[in-house]
């Protein structure tokens, strides 16, 4: 993914628009939910009818402060709204209510990990704004239609400094940011549905240079992969252009996911003058220290802290902790399994193996929060308990697990119904071992002649003969005692 830029280095800054998970819109009482029939979630205010006025949804400010505190931003005790003026059919007032000179959060940083190294990426600012409606083309003959359900859905715009240098760093930053907003409960982080959107500012310069190169803004990427690919494409295009003696122009380019290339949309000459000015319909936002402290007290445990706790409290390897805390719902699922049965490493192995595989297969992680788990946490815990108390082997557990996916029965009930209880009777196992050795005298001779890898063969034969129910450590112990006798 990371292109070799030779004598150049990439300079990448990201602008993320995160739709907030408030129940209602930012300046009216309409539902902010996704997926309603077109224009159902609208009223005179979010349609920009004549004379109507915005009234701020306080929750939006709380969410913004939550994000700012989690990212170590300075929270502006006085900030204000500005109007961004331009014409587009999905923009109902001819201006977007946003923040310009005095945003609610400034500064802050995220630490990202790429190739075993940690890098600190600083943020420029976070501000609040309203989303626009959505134009729908090609659905109604020659006409375009507009759906204003999204008009007035609250957004956080999170702007990084141009401090990333590769697609991998950009991807890591973006994933980290998404995890964070999901943990904070302020955004569902769904890139496909557009509730978590990213534009990239990409430029290149000679390695070691301090001046920034000509900046290109890349838009229209609707997955992490698309962001990484678009940045990789753009870095290569820019370095190729320079190497061929060409000139780069400051412009906006669109990522075409089908053709895997960026295309020019508009150049700086045709760029808008947005004529920002303070919105006279909304008073400045004054935040008291009490309010900010209250939000700070109510912050949930953040991903970094949780990851460290998973290592220190559960003794998990760093890699496990990283995977399990990548999603708040996954981390909570893990904790629920461990709470029901105290074997963190086993829980981690099951989740990182079968559970995550099924989540991907069933696309369960398309939902903002996974609720339809392949198996309930307590059920998975019960299965692990059956292994730990010696009722079943790990191998049998796989069979039981598959059964659990389609059955309402408890793991124990499945084990009993199918007669899968582990054979731990030494005498019975010894008898099977004797039969197996007796049936394979040549192999026994080979083993004793030094071909010790035949151990696996004998174990396999014993397991086969017991229908997989023999206790594997016991089989090994008794088998070796016999063979080496």
């Amino acid at each position: 993914m990371n292109p070799d830029l030779g004598r150049y280095e990439g300079v990448i800054g990201l602008e993320v628009h995160a739709e907030m998970l408030t129940a209602s819109k930012i300046f009216c009482g309409c539902s902010a939910a996704f997926g309603a029939p077109p224009n159902d979630n609208t009223c005179p205010v979010c349609l920009g009818m004549p004379g109507v006025l915005p009234v701020l949804n306080r929750r939006v400010v709380e969410f913004a402060v939550r994000a700012g505190l989690a990212i170590d931003c300075r929270i502006a005790r006085r900030n204000r709204w500005a109007r961004k003026n331009y014409f587009y059919p999905d923009l109902c007032k001819g201006y977007q209510i946003s923040q310009f000179e005095l945003p609610i959060c400034e500064g802050g940083y995220l630490d990202i990990r790429v190739d075993e190294a940690t890098k600190r990426v600083h943020l420029t600012r976070i501000h609040m704004e309203e989303d626009t409606g959505k134009n729908i083309h090609d659905a109604h003959g020659d006409s375009s239609l507009v759906d204003f359900n999204r008009s007035g859905v609250p957004l956080l715009e999170i702007v990084s400094e141009p401090e990333m240098s590769s697609p991998a760093e950009a991807g890591a930053y973006l994933r980290k940011l998404r995890t964070l907003v999901q943990y904070l409960g302020i955004c569902d982080g769904n890139m496909e549905e557009g509730s978590f959107r990213c534009d990239a500012n990409v430029s290149v310069r000679l390695r070691g240079a301090t001046e920034l190169g000509v900046k290109v803004e890349v838009k229209n990427m609707n997955s992490f992969r698309a962001v990484e690919k678009a940045i990789a494409f753009e870095l290569e295009r820019q370095t190729d252009t320079l190497d061929e003696g060409g000139q780069l122009v400051q412009e906006t380019r669109l990522w075409d996911a089908d053709r895997e290339e960026t295309r020019s949309m508009r150049s700086k000459e045709s760029a808008h003058d947005y004529r920002y000015f303070p919105d006279p319909d909304l008073p400045p936002i004054i935040l008291s220290d009490d309010f900010v402290e209250q939000v700070r007290r109510e912050l949930p445990e953040l991903p970094d802290a949780r990851r460290e706790r998973f290592v220190s409290a559960f003794g998990l390897p760093a890699y496990d902790a990283e995977v399990l805390t990548a999603r708040r719902d996954l981390a909570e699922y893990f904790e629920a399994v461990v709470a029901a049965h105290d074997n963190a490493k086993a829980a981690s192995n099951w989740i990182m193996g079968d559970i995550i595989r099924l989540i991907h297969e069933r696309k369960l992680d398309d939902a903002p929060t996974i609720t339809a788990w392949p198996v309930p946490a307590t059920t998975l815990a019960a299965l692990i308990a059956l292994i730990d108390d010696g009722t079943i082997s790990g191998k049998i557990a796989k069979t039981v697990f598959e059964e659990m996916l389609t059955s309402e029965e408890s793991p124990r009930a499945i084990v009993e119904r199918k007669g899968l209880v582990q054979m731990s009777d030494e005498g019975a196992i010894q008898a099977v071992i004797d039969d197996v050795l007796a049936a394979n005298p040549d192999k026994v001779a080979e083993f004793r002649g030094g071909k010790e890898k035949l151990q696996g063969f004998f174990v396999g034969q014993v397991m086969k003969a017991t229908g997989g129910k023999a206790n594997p450590p016991l089989v090994n112990k008794l088998l070796m005692a016999k063979l080496k006798a």
């Binding site: 004379g51 001819g94 004529r275």
Partner: protein, 494 residues
């Protein structure tokens, strides 16, 4: 009955409704008849909502009979400026672009009028989007001054003033951004009041300049205005700039004397070239107030001269943004796109907006543009602060300020239409109080040599509505100017 119904003041009509000697239906029919007889000349209305008015009147009459109607304006026909949204009744803002626009919602002031039992008789003419000082910018033709129909009624709330002066309604609502209530009140010889910014909700009031717009009443008397103000004032959770503060009993504030009232007279409001009759009438009024127990003193508001420039930068800047929504996409008269999306906007706005609206959009767009913002918009904001501080300073020593409303009385139609700057300068004495967000009332205080009315402006400190009402009422009670009525328009029954 010696007094025709249409000649009653709001207070008189209200008293007779309550003693049962007249019905709301009768008042409404009288108003409708009066409109039918006189509006061809005055053109106070863009839309007369006769059916809705009759239905409301009948309903209120039934409530009055049963004793259920207790609202302060129960049964009273009221005209509403056509920039104020009225659910189910078209609201054009005097613009061609909104010719067929019927809002599905009421402005908060409309709701409050309805809740008080008022009968909305029609939508009053005004300058397009409230932009103008003469009502000549209405896409539906100008309203005319009842005292001389060859003259303008003043703007932008011209129709709201002529409806009162012409006895077509008992009260009316206007909006005042830079003088749009006070100037027509002065030119038409009626009482008009701009409340403190934030006193009355702007929700549903089609915005011209959001930081300045304020709804206010017109009436034949100060008392009538106080009644209407009491109904429309108050905090509205739907307007974040409305102020959460109790509404006093404005009628109780009306006295008959001005004892102890300290009146400041800003010398910057008496300027070279103003009509001598205007200065004379205002000076006489000061004498009258002195006779009622007020003390008068000269004060200075040194930044007054910058108010017009400051106002026309800030108001047009806000307007250029406020009018962005009239793009023909969701409502309003859309013109065809002959050359892509941009042409849809271009054609819709080129044909939908009149020349003064376009001029202000261009002025405001310029003032906010990259490279000019600091020199114009930001500078004007600073000047606005200085103007506000001027007022803060003098209100430490005086209770109200008394000034002329405009340098001259009503001018003739078309007299200033070719000279926008001359038109803007008409606002020289009204813009400062707008920029400072202050309450101000206009009461008739004389007539010039041509018989045209002259108004006295009384400006109060923030939320000093009671002070200006008291001063205005005292002056009114000591004079007869408010009882003068304009000549009957040709064709009108006496």
């Amino acid at each position: 009955m010696t007094t025709p119904l249409h000649d009653l003041t709001l207070a008189e009509a209200s008293a007779r409704l309550r003693d049962g000697s007249v019905s709301s239906e009768a008042l409404t029919e009288a108003a409708l008849a009066r409109i039918a007889a006189t509006d061809e000349t005055l053109h106070s209305f863009i839309t007369v909502s006769a059916d809705e008015a009759r239905a409301t009147a009948r309903a209120v009459d039934a409530q009055l009979k049963s004793g259920a109607a207790t609202g302060a304006l129960a049964g009273i026909p009221i005209a509403v400026k056509d920039v104020i949204a009225t659910a189910g009744i078209r609201t054009t803002a005097a613009s061609k672009l909104l010719e067929d626009f019927v809002p599905p919602y009421d402005a908060t002031v409309t709701t409050r009028l309805k809740n008080a039992g008022a009968v909305i008789i029609g939508k009053a003419n005004c300058d397009e989007f409230a932009m103008g000082s003469s009502n000549e910018n209405s896409a539906y033709g100008p309203a005319r001054n009842p005292w001389d129909p060859t003259r303008v009624p003043g703007g932008s709330s011209g129709g709201s003033a002529t409806a009162i002066a012409g006895r077509q309604a008992y009260g009316s609502l206007g909006t005042d951004t830079g003088g749009s209530i006070r100037l027509p009140a002065s030119y038409c010889g009626v009482v008009g009041m701009k409340p403190t910014y934030g006193r009355v909700s702007r929700y549903g009031v089609i915005a011209y300049a959001s930081s300045l717009d304020q709804v206010g009443p017109f009436g034949r008397t100060v008392e009538d205005c106080a009644r209407v103000l009491g109904v429309i004032a108050g905090h509205d959770p739907r307007d974040s700039t409305s102020v959460d503060r109790p509404v006093p009993d404005y009628q109780a504030a009306l006295g008959t004397d001005a004892a102890g009232l300290r009146i400041g007279v800003p010398n910057e409001y008496f300027i070279e070239g103003m009509q001598p009759a205007v200065e004379g009438a205002v000076r006489d009024a000061l004498g009258t107030l002195g006779g009622l127990g007020a003390t008068t003193s000269e004060v200075s508001l040194p930044h007054t001269a910058y108010a017009v420039a400051c106002y026309y930068i800030l108001a047009t800047a806000e307007a250029s943004s406020n009018l962005g929504r009239y793009d023909g996409i969701r409502y309003g008269a859309r013109q065809p796109a002959d050359d892509g999306l941009a042409s849809l906007y271009r054609n819709t706005r080129a044909l939908g907006f009149g020349p003064e609206v376009k001029r202000r959009i261009m002025l405001g767009t310029y003032a906010l543009s990259a490279g000019y913002y600091d020199a114009y918009y930001l500078k004007a904001q600073k000047v606005r602060t200085l103007i506000r501080q001027d007022f803060d300073r003098v209100f430490a020593d005086v209770d109200v300020l008394a000034t002329p409303v405009a340098p001259t009385t009503a001018f003739h139609l078309a007299e200033k239409t070719s000279d926008p700057l001359a038109m803007y300068l008409v606002d020289v004495f009204t813009n400062p109080a707008s920029l400072a967000g202050l309450p101000a009332i206009v009461v008739p205080c004389g007539r010039d040599e041509a018989g045209m009315p002259i108004g006295l402006q009384l400006i109060g400190p923030p939320f000093g509505e009671e002070l200006v009402l008291r001063a205005a009422r005292a002056f009114e009670q000591a004079t007869t100017w408010h009882r003068d009525r304009p000549p009957e328009p040709a064709g009108a029954p006496a």
